[in-house]
């Protein structure tokens, strides 16, 4: 209830000069008396159609004008530059042709992209998705604007769907910004050379760009489980931070459990187990098995979480 936060004198100062002109009242009543309300068959006012409520463009505008969205996009676009600066300050050898992904980062632009995606894969990328999806309903709850959207009325399933699609678009945009900017930065600094895999295989620039594209698509699909979980938490709480943090926390927990090799095949069921399967694409002959398993795992988790979220939201009493 943020509106209670201002002291009385502050309110009084702000209120100075705020009043309704009597003429305005006349205008309103004139407009109201001259306008007759037409009603459709379903009881709705003429011009209202559920399928036109909260269109994607509107929701995108609502979200894109948020400082949060702008900061995340800005940060992701800035990250490649930070990495370049780090490599410039440090003493990387651009002719290094062997070693791990980090050692190879400065070998060529595709290698630089792979590095950028590798270092952000475990925490930053899940967090971005968790942010967009976890925040989407919970922030409306915290602003008390959710009830007004529902009173329009935007049907609940539609509200959830439009919000999920918007979050997915924003996530995809943000996830795509990283490789695109990294590639540009990489080409400028390290040149459009062949990608070098840690085993010394070289993959031509064109092929590696395709691999990066596919890898980005895979990451988007794989993170669907975070999206589903974020959405479920978002409809379950009124604290946006709780929903975002909860999803990130589960992701971290899953990664911790994934480190415990004693769990053996059980680790296949951890949602993050296949999160780096896209690296299989950086090879001369591509093995799709792990990526398919990752996509299946993500699809299962996302579907279950998504259905639970839809069910919870459809029957929930909105009280914020």
């Amino acid at each position: 209830m943020s509106k209670a936060s201002k002291p009385a004198e502050e309110n009084a100062r702000l209120d100075h000069g705020v009043h309704t002109d009597p003429a305005a009242l006349d205008e309103l009543t004139d407009a109201a008396s001259s306008e007759t309300t037409e009603v459709g068959a379903d009881g709705a006012v003429a011009g209202y159609r559920a399928s036109r409520t909260l269109r994607l463009g509107v929701e995108l505008r609502r979200q894109l004008r948020r400082r949060r969205t702008q900061l995340v996009l800005g940060f992701v676009a800035l990250l490649p530059f930070i990495l370049v600066v780090a490599f410039e300050i440090g003493d990387a050898n651009p002719n290094n042709r062997s070693g791990g992904f980090i050692d190879l980062a400065t070998a060529s632009a595709p290698n630089f992209v792979v590095l950028a995606m590798f270092v952000s894969g475990s925490f930053l990328l899940p967090m971005i998705v968790a942010l967009y999806f976890g925040d989407t309903i919970a922030s409306e709850s915290s602003w008390s604007s959710l009830k007004y959207l529902l009173a329009i009325p935007v049907p609940r399933h539609r509200l959830l769907r439009q919000k999920a699609i918007t979050s997915a678009l924003l996530s995809a945009l943000t996830l795509a910004v990283l490789p695109v900017v990294s590639l540009l930065v990489g080409v400028l600094w390290y040149g459009a050379g062949d990608a070098i895999s840690p085993t010394g295989d070289s993959i031509s620039f064109g092929q590696s760009v395709v691999a990066i594209l596919l890898g980005t698509v895979y990451i988007m699909i794989q993170l669907a489980w975070v999206a589903g979980l974020g959405l479920l938490l978002s409809v379950s709480t009124e604290a946006p931070l709780g929903a975002v943090g909860g999803a990130v926390l589960v992701s971290i927990l899953s990664q911790i459990l994934d480190q415990i090799t004693a769990l053996g095949d059980l680790r296949d069921f951890l949602p993050t187990h296949f999160s780096f399967a896209w690296m299989d694409l950086i090879a001369t002959d591509i093995d799709w098995t792990e990526m398919a398993s990752g996509a299946l795992s993500a699809a299962l988790y996302a579907t279950i979480f998504g259905l639970l979220a839809a069910r919870r939201f459809a029957t929930k009493d909105i009280t914020s």
Binding site: T29, S33, I152, P153, D285
Partner: protein, 978 residues
């Protein structure tokens, strides 16, 4: 927030609507069912294998066989019979590898028994608990033993018979066991099919290979060996094998972990274990009660070997060269001696990572068996003595092969040639593997292997063998090469050529990928630089794959030892053809091939006397590289996962469709109420905690009314309004708006403009942007919104362009009311609209609401202030603790009927006086107040009557029943209020 709203917010966190419980439960069941369906479709393919209980049982036994042909002495063989569920069934004889015993094949035996075979495993003589001495598959001893075991199978009722004494039986086994399979098939007509795995054709060539010949190799197969005489002893392997026969745990018998297969997800942790456990150490693990082998080593240096074998080993190990007698013995012990008699269907499985029995051994077997009239299928897989045993897929293929040839069931596997291509290591450290299948092993029945010519460059080079043969080149460690190959860091350490000892010839980088499959050949010219050492020239050739960054990989860690016994002493050159080891290696574009010819190798018996040789390429004879075109077997495609994904998406779509259909049937209209803005009937909202926020509330609002919903905090006003907006589902009863029942998201809600419990704006946007985006969210035409009118009602001036974050509470309130008025809704619902406004603003607000209702629209206002309702509303509904207390027109309720109240000094006297007046009734005393129903009598006359009775009247007026009741309510329920 000045007023406590705590009651509502506390109790509705986990609200479950009770009236909907039936529907809700059904819905929940549906959800659970669908989630289960999703899990079933997806999970079934996700979980690749579940452990099933064994569907076979085993019998241990000891079988006596003759110790030697015609000998009365007996050797006891320790056997285990695996009986499947259904018998009679065809049998499989499953001998074990060198250094192992019957327990080392128990997994394979179990798998075959599950496939429906009767399986007989046994410890060969000299191994495990069997007695006797090791003769290395001598036809008179081990092979004869196996024939006796076939006799035994013929006596079992569980075994399917071809004819009397001839069971339907196949033999499969790895290494030593594989050789037995070949030997038995070559000597016993009763064998119906064999599947030897990673075994040898000629033991002499396997242990004393010579890759050099004077002439070209003639065979058209992909990986023919040179099989030259007088080879170089494979000292490291020979020693390891001999040690295994001494009863010392070794790494040779079993092949350790499985080789990688297409589609395998390999964890790094198992690469580190290396081949270890399956060999001679297995008996120790098989049961604590067992005693150590009965047949103890019989003489110090020979262990459990027969004298003949022991003498042969001593012969070669001492000076690295084999006597004629030894060679003769080894030939007798080799499948090569009987392959000319093998006519049964044969599946040859050979490893690509095998420095003991390379692909050339299988190639020789294939050629010889085909010549004899047998049909041969060949599989090269990623394992071998260095790379691990067959994985589950390959074991399945072997079982398929046996099943077809023993029962005729299943698809005819034909005689294809399949080879696994191990690609580069992937990022996670596991190599990628794909299988390539060709219609047949080329060069067997028709055609020859396609060979590509690759030019090598390099001048004549002089190589030196240092005295003592050290430091020696390192190409790997027998049995451990798998570990080495699995690590890009280690592989660099294990391909060392000491300087000055090797000649290097390199090709140009490949333009496109070249898939090398088999043994390459090259012609070399070798001459002695100085005196020719005793035994001629000994050299070691290897073919490296060199990546563009210069790092070298020795495929399969395989090297080709060369001995030229008759190198001219005068320094004139000898021209030889070197057959390089058979390997499968994709040479990627940009990679080049490098032929290295060295003088030493740590794994071989390198002569110790110093020598020097000049080595050059023979002009006009390039490196000849075999390629076997075929189709990549697509079984590696993750079909299961893709089906799982499709199933999951389908299930999700199904749920969405079902949910949409359920939503369809919820709009019911009551035409009689079409003009009535709001009818509430029996509305109840109770929470699981027992709190009932709204209890059986019923009232009705007509057009043009300004209805006040009056009650103290916690009376249930806001809950009622939330139910009106479809935010909360009622427990019982219903709300109808213009005849339509209110449900969450009901279209009729579009006719309501609402402001309930605080404004809801996006703090980062301006007031105007908020309103515009809100209207855009409704999807209704912009001209219907009446923005300018609404904004002027809010009257925020320039502040409307500032962010809402900077607004005062009153400003937000006004903006929220303006938002509720957007589109000029027919029913305007405002919750405590004047809260937070100053008196002039409150006054204006009342005017706005009255005038708005005057246009024929309806306004519902909630308030906890009586005065507010009295001054704003035409009608009032009083609520307390969720119940309706009173309802009606405001002035009617405020001054009900003809009742009046008098404040007097003497209430008793006054009451008496009033009762005396005709028509007055219901006289009531309350402190200094006297209430009475005057029934038409004017209040002034009543006052006159009181005065006449001597009562002094301080005050007289209409009785304010509402106020009485309300003050009482507020007094007890309003602690939290301001």
């Amino acid at each position: 927030m000045p007023r406590g709203r705590s009651q509502q917010t506390h109790h509705n966190v986990n609200a479950v609507p009770r009236t909907l419980e039936l529907r809700g439960r059904r819905g929940r069941l549906l959800t659970i069912f669908l989630v289960a369906a999703v899990l079933a479709t997806g999970g079934a393919v996700w979980l690749t294998s579940g452990d099933e209980p064994a569907r076979f049982h085993t019998q241990d036994a000891t079988i006596d066989v003759a110790a030697a042909p015609g000998s009365p002495e007996r050797v006891q063989l320790d056997v285990t019979l695996y009986l499947p569920e259904r018998t009679p069934a065809p049998a499989v004889l499953l001998p074990h590898g060198f250094g192992g015993d019957k327990t080392s094949v128990s997994r394979d035996a179990g798998e075959l028994a599950e496939r429906g075979f009767v399986v007989l495993t046994y410890s060969a003589r000299g191994f495990g608990h069997s007695t006797g001495q090791i003769s290395l598959n001598d036809p008179d001893y081990e092979v004869a033993d196996a024939a006796r075991l076939v006799d035994h199978l013929a006596s079992l009722p569980e075994v399917l018979m071809d004819s009397d004494g001839d069971p339907r039986v196949a033999v499969t086994g790895a290494s030593y066991g594989g050789a037995l399979a070949l030997m038995l098939a070559g000597t016993d007509r009763r064998i119906d099919a064999i599947a030897p795995v990673i075994t040898y054709n000629d033991l002499a060539q396997a242990l004393l290979p010579n890759a050099a010949t004077r002439d070209d190799v003639q065979a058209g197969t992909p990986s023919p060996g040179a099989f030259g005489d007088d080879g170089v002893l494979k000292r490291a392997w020979a020693g390891t094998l001999f040690a295994a026969g001494l009863g010392v745990p070794s790494t040779s018998g079993g092949t350790g972990p499985d080789a990688v297969e297409p589609g395998d997800e390999v964890d790094n942790d198992d690469v580190g274990t290396g081949p270890a456990s399956a060999g001679a150490s297995a008996p120790a693990a098989s049961g604590g009660a067992r005693q150590p082998p009965v047949a103890a080593p019989q003489s110090g240096t020979c262990g459990r070997f027969t004298q003949a074998v022991c003498a042969a080993y001593t012969d070669v190990a001492t000076d690295g060269r084999a006597s004629d007698r030894t060679v003769e013995l080894l030939r007798r012990l080799s499948p090569a001696s009987v392959t000319g008699d093998i006519t049964v269907p044969t599946l040859l499985v050979q490893g690509e990572n095998d420095t003991l029995f390379g692909l050339d051994q299988a190639d020789a077997n294939a050629r010889q068996i085909t010549e004899a009239g047998g049909t041969v299928s060949t599989i090269w897989y990623t394992g071998g003595h260095d790379g691990g045993g067959p994985g589950p897929q390959l074991r399945g293929k072997i079982a398929d092969f046996l099943s077809f040839h023993l029962t005729g069931e299943g698809e005819d596997p034909g005689t294809p040639f399949t080879y696994d291509v191990q690609g580069a290591l992937r990022a996670n450290g596991a190599p990628s593997v794909r299988s390539v299948q060709a219609a047949a092993y080329p060069g067997l029945t028709s055609g020859t292997t396609e060979r590509r010519a690759i030019e090598l460059a390099g001048d004549e080079q002089t190589v030196v063998r240092p005295p003592g043969g050290t430091p020696a080149a390192v190409s790997g460690i027998p049995g451990l090469n798998r570990v080495v190959a699995g690590s890009s860091r280690l592989s660099g350490l294990f391909s060392v050529d000491p300087p000055g000892q090797s000649a290097v010839f390199a090709s140009r980088p490949a333009g496109s990928q070249l898939l090398l499959a088999g043994a390459s050949t090259v012609r070399l010219r070798v001459s002695a630089d100085g005196p020719v050492p005793d035994g001629g020239a000994v050299l070691f050739a290897k073919l490296y794959d060199v990546s563009p960054d210069g790092s070298r990989t020795l495929p399969g860690s395989a090297i080709a030892p060369i001995r030229i016994p008759d190198l001219p002493a005068d320094g004139s050159p000898a021209e030889i053809t070197v057959t390089l080891p058979g390997v499968v290696r994709p040479i990627e574009a940009g990679h080049s091939l490098q032929l290295v010819v060295g003088t030493t190798d740590q794994a071989y018996a390198t002569p110790t006397e110093p020598a020097a040789f000049n080595i050059s390429l023979v002009e006009g004879s390039p490196l000849s590289v075999p390629v076997v075109p075929g189709n990549t077997v697509t079984s590696g495609w993750p079909v299961g996962q893709l089906l799982g994904i499709a199933g999951t998406l389908l299930a999700a779509a199904l749920v969405a469709v079902v949910a949409a259909l359920r939503r369809k049937r919820s709009h019911r209209v009551d035409p009689e109420l079409a003009e009535t803005p709001m009818v509430i009937e029996g509305l109840t909202k109770s929470y699981p905690g027992g709190l009932t926020a709204v209890d059986d509330l019923s009232f009705r609002v007509e057009p043009g009314q300004v209805l006040g919903l009056l009650g103290p905090n916690g009376a249930g006003k806001t809950t009622t309004l939330r139910m009106l907006m479809g935010l909360i589902t009622p427990t019982k009863g219903e709300i109808r708006v213009f005849g339509y029942r209110v449900t969450p998201g009901a279209p009729v809600l579009s006719r309501i403009g609402s402001f309930v419990e605080g404004s809801g704006f996006l703090p980062h946007l301006s007031g105007e942007a908020n309103l515009r985006l809100y209207w855009q969210a409704t999807g209704r035409p912009e001209e219907k919104a009446h923005f300018s009118e609404a904004l002027e009602i809010a009257g925020l001036g320039d502040a409307v362009h500032r962010r809402v974050r900077t607004y005062s509470q009153g400003m937000r309130q006004r903006l929220a009311i303006a938002q509720a008025m957007l589109g000029l809704p027919e029913l305007l619902v405002l919750d405590e609209p004047t809260n937070g406004l100053d008196p002039p603003q409150i006054h204006q607000m009342r005017e706005v609401l009255r005038r708005y209702a005057a246009t024929g629209r309806t306004v519902v206002v909630s308030s906890h202030l009586l005065a507010e309702v009295e001054q704003t509303c035409t009608h009032v509904v009083v609520m307390h603790r969720g119940r309706l207390v009173a309802s009606g027109e405001v002035h009617e309720i405020v001054a009900a009927g003809g009742e009046a109240t008098f404040r007097v000094d003497n209430p008793e006297a006054a009451a008496e006086a009033l009762r005396a007046v005709g028509g007055v009734s219901g006289v009531d005393i309350e402190g200094t107040l006297v209430h009475a129903d005057l029934d038409g009598l004017a209040r002034s006359e009543a006052v006159a009557a009181l005065v006449r009775a001597g009562v002094s009247v301080e005050q007289a007026g209409p009785r304010r029943r509402l106020e009485d009741a309300f003050l009482q309510l507020v007094g007890e329920g309003g602690e939290g209020s301001s």
